[in-house]
Every structure is written in C-alpha cells, then in structure tokens.
Amino acid sequence: MEYAAVGNKENVFRARKKKKISVGQYILAFILGLYTLFCLLPILLVFVTAFSDDKSIASNGYSYFPEKWSLEGFRYVFKYGRQLFTSYGVTIFITVVGTIFGLLIMSMFAFALSRRDFMFRKFLSVYILIPMLFSGGQLANYLVFTSSYKLKDSLLLLIIPLSVSTMNIIILRTYIQTSIPEELMDSARIDGAGEYRTFFQIVMPLMKPVLASVGFMMATAYWNDWQNALLYIDTASKNPLQLLLIRIQKNIEFLLNNKNISGAALAAIQKGIPEYSATMATVLTVIGPIMIAYPFFQKYFIKGLTVGSIKG
C-alpha cells in the first residue's frame, strides 16, 4: 500500500491510502460479465425471434441477426384476440387478488406472532412450520381439492393455495420485530387505539418495503403458476396465460405433426402459421409484464430477501 503524506497548516501528517486495483479484479469483472451475458442472452433471443421473419428462421435457423424483421408473429398471436385478452384478464385477476389477499392475512398473522406476550404464538409457530417440512404431495392435494371439496375448474384453486407460505410469514414477522419499534405501538395503545387500529394505521404503513418485496415474489409466483392451472382448469374462459401458452404450443405441434393431414395440406398450414416467431411472440407477451415490473421492485426485493433471511 502506498501512503501519500498530506500536510496541512499545522504540519501534521495525514496518511491517505491509495487503492491499487489488482489484476484479479479485472479478471473477476470479466467472469461476472460473462455470467451476466449468459443470463441475458436467452431472453434476448426470445425478443429478437418474436420480431423476426419466420421464413428466414426456417431457412437459416434461429439467430440474433435475422435476415428480415417482421411483425407476422405478433399478428398471429393477436388472432387469438379474444382468448388472449381473457387469459390476460384471468392472470391479472388471480395475481392481484391473490397477492393482496395473501399479504393481508399473512401480515396480520405475522403481527400476532410478533407480540411477545402472546402465549399462543408458540403453538402457532409450530403450526406453520410443519407444512413446510411435510406435505401430502401432488396427488393428495389434487384428490382432496377435486373430489372432497369439489373445487374442480374453480379459480379459488389458483388463488388460495399460493396465498399462504411459511417462508413469507417468517420474513414478515422478522421485519416487524426488527424494524418497527415497540414504542410506537405502546404510545398508540396509551392513546387508546385497539389492536386493529394499531395494526392498520401504524404497522402496515411502516411495512411498505417488505410488503413490496414479498408482494413481488408472490405476484411472480401467481403469474408463473402453470401446474395448478393445468391440473384444475378446464373452461377456456378461465385459462390463465401460462396455460394458454401450453395449449397454443400443443396446437401448433398438433397441427404440424399430425399424420392424418396430407402433405399438401400440411404445407399450406405451415405457410399460414409463422411457427417460430408466433411462439416467441406469445412467450414475450407472457413474460413481458414481469420484465417490465422488475426494475421497479428490484430495490425492495433484494433488501427484503436479505432482511428476512438473516433472522429467519
């Protein structure tokens, strides 16, 4: 380390370290940069392919630099018009309702858990811990929900199971315990506020950062959930986006691989379906909103993950 001596009027030395950036840092930068590209490039390919001309993909293969650009892919997707619109509606509905509902009930639970003089909370902590460690499994869930509760084809099954998660409750509770001073709540109580008022008027507003990060994680889980939709939803009007994606792909594949369609007819169909760009355009419409929302939530999201994880 080199020291630069700085003298001032009283002739006192103040040592100032001059930082040398080692070669290793540049190598690190290169490696990290490579990995960042690795994460980014696949997504970029979706974007480029969605706007590419299908014929150039058919002849030259997928590429980041297509011969021709075109909006054909998107035009095909919009032909689904009504269904796409409906599916968007369904997905937005379950995401918004599920996230708000889940955040509300989990925050209340977390608040109660954080009350140190609440004796029942010991039992409650164990009560939420067990489902995290042991579960009935996919099949049991499916049969109980459809056969016993008779909830097949119900949007409730897309909303409720994902609304409560032990990990999130712990994150919320930890946040309340570490970032919201007891004094605030005590003074509210002295002023005569009941527990509900204390919670809604004081605690919740202060929880905004953690609500943002947990909320974002929940919203993404809802937006991306394909398995529940695949298992439980039959009616087309209740198809969320992920399910639509799966069905469209199966249709395209079905049409193009069907042995019962003659060669000539197949060629005609193939001409009409911009297979590659349409698929990617559909993928883009499904992952698009998350990509757009991410930069806004990213700050809260990383903070929230870290705060919750240390104590949890």
Partner: protein
C-alpha cells in the same frame, strides 16, 4: 420451554382471551393451512386404498399394501424414477449451493460496487421466467435449426439432434436449472457476507493473510450456519423435484424419460392421463415419508454437532 411448566391452563386461557384480537388476526391463515395443507396430509392414506371416484377418498376401500406391491413390481420404471430424482437432487444441491456461494463471494469481493449490483440485478431475472416459457427458449437453442446447431455448423460440424438423445439431458437440465437459480440463490448468501465484521478482515490483513487465506478462514466459516439451514430445509424434499423443469423443458418427451423422468413428473403425467392412482399414491406417500424421516434425522444430527444451526 422452562417457563411453561409453571403456567396453569387458566393463565393460558386468560392470556389468549386478552389477545383475542390477535387470535382473530390469525384465523384466516389457520383455516387456509388447515384445509389446504393439513387435510391433504390425510390424503396420504390413499396409498393404502383403491381410489373410487364415486366413494371419494374417505369411502374408498382399503387395500393395504397392494399399491406398494404394484410399485415394487414395476421394477425398472420405479427404480429409474427414484434414481433420477436422487441424482438430480444431489447434483443441484452440491453444484447449486457451491455456485451460489461462489457467486456471492465474487460479487462481495468485487471492487466496482455499483457495477456489481447492476450485474446481480440482471442475474436474478431468469428465476422470474416460468418453465412453461423456458421450454421455448431451450427449444430455440437446441432444435434442429437452433442456435447451438448453427454454431456447430458454422465450425463445420454436424448438427446434433438433441431432443432424441437422452444422454445429453442430465447436463442440459443442470445448465438450465443453474441459469434459473444461481442469481437468485446467491442473494441469500450475500446477505450473510454483508454482515461480516470488516474488522476481522483488517486484523487478518495485519497478520499477513492474503486474499485466499482471508476467504478460507473468515468468509467461508461465516457462511456455514446459513448453508446448514439451507441444506436442512432441502433435505425434506429429497424425493421431490422442480416439476416444471422436468415436465415442461423436456416437453414430456417419452424418449428422454431414461435420464429425465423423476417421481414428480411421473405423478403429474399420470394425474393428467390416467384415472388409476394406486401407483402414484404409493409414490407420493413414499416421497413424503422419506422426506420427513430424513429431515428429522438430519436435524437431529446437526443438533448433536452444532445446536445453534439446527432447525428445531
């Protein structure tokens, strides 16, 4: 807990009544967990019954171990599924955790903090893309005219038909999983690293330790508690898998089953295609029970070695 021994039931009830507002706040979560997590646990009893849709879960007749005999008799299928599940579990756990930690340390050591944060934000993005969408991205790379084959042909090689050859898929699925998870997974470890007292590093530097020694003796040991918790939490899921990865990305292609079929993708497939659930019921029972036993064992072991790091 020591103090509970001295508390009478009367005191407990009095305390609960005093906190009735809090109890009310907890009820939604309690109910949801009861109906959607605890009741399905009883559905595990299906492993011992022959399910009759008309009679429902509770009315179906007991067949004791018939389903399990069926499981064992299928020999190859069952062994293959189980081995695949275990194989991917260990690969993802060991490789995944190592990469998570390596990335966390890399970013933490990186001198250009703002650039590091920006890169980390990008690295987290893949986790927000559902596997239903990822399958199309993978297809864009691995199909006959995909990116990878284009590159191979550019260098004069023969294109490889990836989707027909099971032997490549262990590596392919691992790469996809790492792409998806490492950015997100490293955040947890970063939070631990951020909490390490800088003075420890200063002291080590004064003692003459170089970077490698600092990492080995300060950074890595401080990650042990978090790593232990993560491993403990994952052990319960040893028989489970990231279903989307194995069902969607492989497009449920039967040709690839030898290296890609895991218990969860088998069960999902059978739920969608057949109505005889005996095999699946036995398999999911097996998943849950093995997971529970392992987690109890693992926690017990950790408690003997380092009680602070145990889950309970």
């Amino acid at each position: 807990m020591k103090y509970i021994r001295g508390i009478s039931m009367k005191y407990f009830l009095h305390n609960t009544w005093k906190h009735r507002a809090h109890v009310l706040m907890c009820i939604p979560v309690i109910l949801i967990l009861f109906f959607f997590s605890y009741v399905p646990m009883a559905g595990l009893s299906l492993a011992f019954k022959r399910f009759d849709y008309n009679k429902g879960i509770w009315g179906s007749p007991f067949v004791k171990f018939e389903n399990f005999k069926f499981l064992m008799a299928s020999g190859k299928t069952f062994t293959r599924m189980t081995l695949n599940t275990l194989k991917y579990y260990f690969i993802f756990l060991i490789l995944g955790t190592s990469l998570n930690i390596a990335l966390a340390i890399a970013i933490d050591q990186f001198v250009f903090k703002r650039l590091g944060k920006a890169m980390q934000s990008i690295m987290i993005i893949p986790v927000f893309i559902s596997y239903a969408a990822v399958q199309f991205i993978v297809y864009a790379f691995l199909s006959n005219n995909g990116m990878v084959n284009n590159v191979i042909q550019f260098f004069g090689g023969e294109p490889i038909r990836w989707y027909i050859n099971p032997k490549y898929w262990t590596a392919i699925l691992t790469i996809v999983k790492m792409w998806n998870g490492v950015g997100y997974g490293s955040v947890l470890f970063m939070s631990v690293l951020a909490g390490i007292d800088q003075e420890l590093y200063e002291a080590a530097k004064i003692d003459g330790a170089n970077k490698r020694q600092q990492i080995m003796h300060i950074t890595l040991p401080s990650l042990v508690p978090m790593t232990t918790i993560i491993i403990l939490l994952s052990v319960g899921g040893i028989m489970r898998s990231d279903t989307g990865l194995f069902y969607q990305v492989t497009r449920n292609s039967g040709i690839l089953y030898p290296t890609t079929q895991v218990i969860d993708s088998y069960v999902l497939n059978s739920m969608l295609t057949t109505s005889s659930y005996g095999f699946s019921a036995a398999a999911t029972f097996y998943q849950s029970v093995v997971g529970l036993i392992l987690i109890l064992l693992a926690n017990y072991t950790v408690r003997k070695i380092e009680p602070d790091n145990a889950l309970f």
